[in-house]
Symmetry: D2
Subunit: 304 residues, 4 copies
C-alpha cells in the first residue's frame, strides 16, 4: 500500500486535530481514526467518522421501552437481548463512515448493499492511477467442483506465476492504451475508462448504520464470500469490535457463531436427542442439507 503524498498529508493533518465535544466518544476508535488499514495489495479501509457507541444503542432502546426499565437490565444484557430477538432499530442509531480503496470488481459486489451512502471517485471527471490488483500466488485457485461460485485447490507455483504474468501484462497494456487515448487523442475520460480491466482500483466514501453494517459483515465475512471482499469484511470487523465491543460480542454469539436450523432439521434433532439413529435417507433432508446439518452438529463452520 503506497499512499499518495496528498493523502499522507491529509491523514497527518486530520490525526493532529483535537477538538472538545459533548458527544459520546470511543477512545479505541479515536486511536484508529484516519489511519489506513491495508487490504489486498494497494487497497485500504480507514475510518473517517463515527456516530454513537454501545451506549447509544441502549439509549435508543430505552426510549422504546420507556422509563422503569433502566435498572432491571444492565447495558450488555440489553444489547444481547436486542440482538437475540432481532430488535434491529436501536442498532441503526450508530453510524460509521469509511474511506475505502478497492478493486472495481470488489466494488461491484459491495454496492449491492443498498442501504448505505456512497461517494465514489469519478473516472468521468478524473484520471485513475496505474494501480491494479494482483492476487498473491497463494490466493490463485481453481474453480471449485462442488460450489459453482467458489474456488478450490490453490494453483501450483509455476502455474500461479504464469497466471500472474498474464494478468499483469493485460493490466499494463490496457493502462497504456487508456493513457494514450487521453494523451494522444484527447479522448474524453468518460470514454477512455472503458478500456481498463476490472482489477483496477477505485475508491469511495461509504457510510452505513450499525445494523446494516452487521448485515453486510455477516455476508462478507462469511466463508462463502469471495476472498477479495472478505479481506475488507475482516478489516471492518476489527474496527467494529473496537468501536462497539458489547454489540460485537452479541453479534458473534447470536449471528456469526450460531446457525439456523430448518423445520426438517429440528425434527431430526429431536429424534436424535430421543436416542434414535437418523440417517440422511430417512431425515427428510437433501444430501446437501444433510451435510450442512452434520457440520452444524459437529461444530465446524456453522451451517455454511
Amino acid at each position: 500500500m503506497d499512499l499518495s503524498p496528498e493523502l499522507l498529508a491529509a491523514i497527518e493533518e486530520a490525526r493532529g486535530q483535537r477538538h472538545e465535544t459533548r458527544r459520546a466518544t470511543v477512545p479505541a476508535l479515536e486511536a484508529r481514526l484516519y489511519t489506513p488499514i491495508p487490504c489486498l495489495d494497494h487497497g485500504f479501509v480507514r475510518v473517517i467518522d463515527y456516530m454513537g457507541d454501545d451506549g447509544a444503542v441502549v439509549q435508543a432502546a430505552r426510549v422504546s421501552y420507556g422509563k422503569g426499565t433502566k435498572t432491571t437490565r444492565d447495558d450488555r444484557g440489553l444489547i444481547r437481548y436486542l440482538m437475540r430477538h432481532r430488535h434491529t432499530t436501536p442498532f441503526e442509531m450508530c453510524e460509521l463512515k469509511l474511506h475505502v480503496k478497492l478493486p472495481i470488481f470488489v466494488a461491484r459486489q459491495w454496492i449491492r448493499h443498498r442501504t448505505a451512502n456512497v461517494n465514489e471517485y469519478s473516472a468521468r471527471y478524473s484520471v485513475l492511477d496505474r494501480e491494479f490488483y494482483m492476487p498473491r500466488p497463494e490466493d490463485l485457485a481453481v474453480q471449485s467442483r462442488n460450489n459453482k461460485q467458489g474456488r478450490g485447490q490453490t494453483l501450483d507455483a509455476d502455474q500461479a506465476a504464469q497466471v500472474l504474468s498474464l494478468l499483469r501484462a493485460d493490466a499494463m497494456q490496457t493502462y497504456d492504451t487508456y493513457s494514450a487515448l487521453m494523451d494522444r487523442f484527447d479522448l474524453a475520460r468518460e470514454l477512455a475508462r472503458m478500456d481498463l480491466t476490472l482489477n483496477f482500483y477505485t475508491q469511495w466514501y461509504w457510510k452505513i448504520d450499525l445494523h446494516n453494517l452487521l448485515h453486510f459483515l455477516s455476508l462478507r465475512m462469511h466463508p462463502h464470500a469471495q476472498h477479495e471482499i472478505r479481506v475488507y469484511g475482516d478489516a471492518i470487523g476489527e474496527v467494529v469490535r473496537d468501536w462497539v465491543p458489547a454489540t460485537w460480542e452479541a453479534f458473534e454469539d447470536y449471528r456469526l457463531g450460531g446457525a439456523f436450523l430448518s423445520r426438517q432439521a429440528l425434527t431430526c434433532l429431536r429424534r436424535m436427542l430421543d436416542g434414535e439413529a437418523v440417517s440422511q435417507e430417512d431425515s427428510g433432508l437433501s444430501r446437501r442439507e444433510w451435510r450442512e446439518f452434520q457440520r452444524v452438529l459437529r461444530g465446524g463452520a456453522e451451517g455454511k
Copy 2:
C-alpha cells in the same frame, strides 16, 4: 414544556460531558446539544448527536471529483454548485440524531419519511403520560374553502374557548379511562392504549442524513404543511442553520427561495419578456396554475 426530573438530570449530565475527539466538531451545535427546543405546548426537539459538517460535504464531493479540483473552487462555491445541480450524495455524508416529543397525529405525518431511523416509545411496553396537545386559540381555524387540506380564518375567541373545552374534556376523559383500564382491570397496556386520542404525546429518537433532512424540511417548513408539524420543521431548520451554515444558505437560495416553472409557464414567461401581454385565457395554464405563476412573478411565497 415541563420536563420530567429524569430527563432534566439526563440533560444536565450529558451537557456536563467533555471529551476529546479527532472528529470534525461544530461549536454552534455543541452549544445546542441535548437542550430541548420547545415545540407546541408539551413537545420539544433536542439534538442528541451529529456527524459531519459543511466540510464533510466538500470532502465527500472531492472523492468523487478526484484530485486536481481542490484549488479551483472554494468550499462554499462547491456546496452551492452541488445544491444547484442536485448532486445529492455528498449531503448524505452528514447525520443528525434528534430526540423529539410530539403529538401522535403529528408523528403519523412525520413517519411517512421512510429514509430515516426511528425508535419510538412503546405504549405496549410502558404507560404514556397524561400529556396531550391543546392548540393555542390563535391556531384554531375553520376549514379552508380553496384548499381541501388546509385551514382558513381563525375562530373568534368565544368559539375557540368552546372548542378547546371540548378537546380538553375528551382528552381528560379518555386518559381517565386508559388509567382505569390498567388499574382496575389490569388490562394489557397494548390494549388500553387504543382508548387515547390522537393528540396525546409520544416521543422518539430520529436519525436522518442531511440530504433527506433537507427534503423533509422543504416539505414540512412549506406554508401548505399543517401548522403543528411546521413548528417542528422550523425548529429543526434553526438547528441545521447552525450546524451547516453554507449548506443552509445554498438550500435557501436553490430550494426554499426558488421556484419550479413548468414548460407552459416558461413559454408564457418568454412571451412576457418579449413584451406581450399574456392573460390566463391564452396562457395554456389552468386558473390555479396561473395564480401560482403570478405569485412567483410577484415575489410572494414561492410558487406555493
Copy 3:
C-alpha cells in the same frame, strides 16, 4: 365488516373485468382479486394487484446464475435453495398491492416497515367514518407478567363487558365531538381529527415486494406480535400461500418452522448429542435463553 355501497360497486365492477395479457398470471390469486378478507370487526385486506409468481423468482435467479443451470435443478428446488441460503434478491422481483382497512394503532405498528409504498386516507382532506375497533370479549386480556409487551390471561366475562362498555363510550363520545367540531364550529378537519381515539379505522393502499413481505409476515405472524396485527398477518399469509405456493412452502420450512441457535446453544447441543446431561446452570445460557432452547428442542413454538 359492512362495506360502503361505493366500495361494493367498485369491487363488483373490478371483478367483472376480463383482459387478455401476456404476463404471468396466478389463477388462485385472480379468484381472490378485489374481494375483501374480513379482519377484526370492521377491517379487511383485499388484493388489488400483483406482479409475478413462483416462476418470476426462478427467472430472476437464473439471470444471476447464467445459462447452463436450467436443467440441473427444478424450480421448486431452486426456490428452496434460495430461501435456505438467504439469497433474497430474486424474491424482490414479485410485488403485491393490497387495500387494507385497519385501526390506527395497528397502522402505527405496520408503518414501521419502511420498504413498502403507502397511500393512506387523509383525515386532513376527508372525514373519517364512525367506525372503531371493539375487541371480542375473548381478546381482552390482562397485562402479561413475564412479557412486558404482551398479554396474559383472558378477562372474565363480566370484566370484559365493563371494559368494552368503557371503550365504546369513549369512542362514541369522541366521534360526537369530532363531528360537532366540524359541523358546529366549521373547524378544519386537520384539527378536528386529533380528538379521535386510536381505535378508529383508517385505510390505505400498500404495495410491497415478496422478500420484504415475507419479512413483514415473519414478524407479524409471530406469536409475540400483538393479536390485532397478527390477524392481518395471518390473512395476508393465506394470500401469499395461494399466490406463490413453492415460495410459501420454503418459507415455512426455512423461516417460520425453523429456529436460530446461538453459539452457546450449539455448544450445549453438541454436548447433549454426546450423551452429556446439561443443565441450565452449566449451559452458558441465561434462564430465559435456556427456556427458549428447551422449547426448540421439545418442538413447541420455535424459539419464540
Copy 4:
C-alpha cells in the same frame, strides 16, 4: 444486437402466452412485452412485466383524498395536479420490470439508483460472452473544455478509426486471456473475470416503481448524462410513454420541460419584467448561473 438462440426461443414462447386477468392491462405495453429494444451495439432493454397504469395512480391518490373527490377532477387533471405538487406516493403504486443488457461501465452508473431491485448475471457463477461495446465513430469525442465530466467535439474519422482499433485490440486480448485462464489453468471464474475490460456486456433484471423510474429518467435522459446511459434512458422513456401516457405528459410538462429558478434568478426576473435591463454583473448570479438562466429564458435546453 445478436440474440442467443435460447433468448430468442424464450421471447417467442413468452410472447405466445395468452392469459385472462382481472388486473388492469395496457394494450400498448402488452404489444411491447418481452421484445428487445436495441441499445448500443449489443445491448437491449426489454419489458418483462408491469403492474398498474395511469388509473392505478388515480386510484391510489383517491384513497388519500377519500370519497367525494371522484367527480370533481378527471383523471388526467388529477395526475397533473399530483405531478405539479410533487405528491409522489401515488406514482409509487406502479412497477416496471426490465431485462437489460449493458456494458459494465454503464451498469456502474445505473446501480447508483438504490431504490430498485436487481438480479445481475454472476460472473462468479457463469462465463461471460465475448461481447464488448465499441462506440460508433460519431460517438467518439474529445474531453470537454468547460465540463470536466463531459465530451466535446467529435474525433475526425482517421482518429476515430485509430481509437476503435486500440479499444478493440484490448478487448479481444483480455477476452483471450480470460478464456485461457479458465481453460488452460482452470482458474476460478471469480478470479478470471478481473481481467476483462469495463466495456464488456453484463445483464440484469431490474424492477422499479414509477416514481423512482421517473427520477432515474430525469437524470439519465438529461443532456449532461453520459451518452451511453442516455441511450438506455431514451429507450425506457419510450416504454413509459406507451405505458402511462397521462403521467408521461405531466412529467414532460412539469419536469423535463420545466426549469427551477433560484431565489436570485427570480429576483432578476422580476426586475426584467419591470422593464429593467439586468446584466450578469448586477444580477447576483455567477457567470455560469447567468448562462444557465439565459438559456432558460431563451428556451433552449431547460436550465441544464
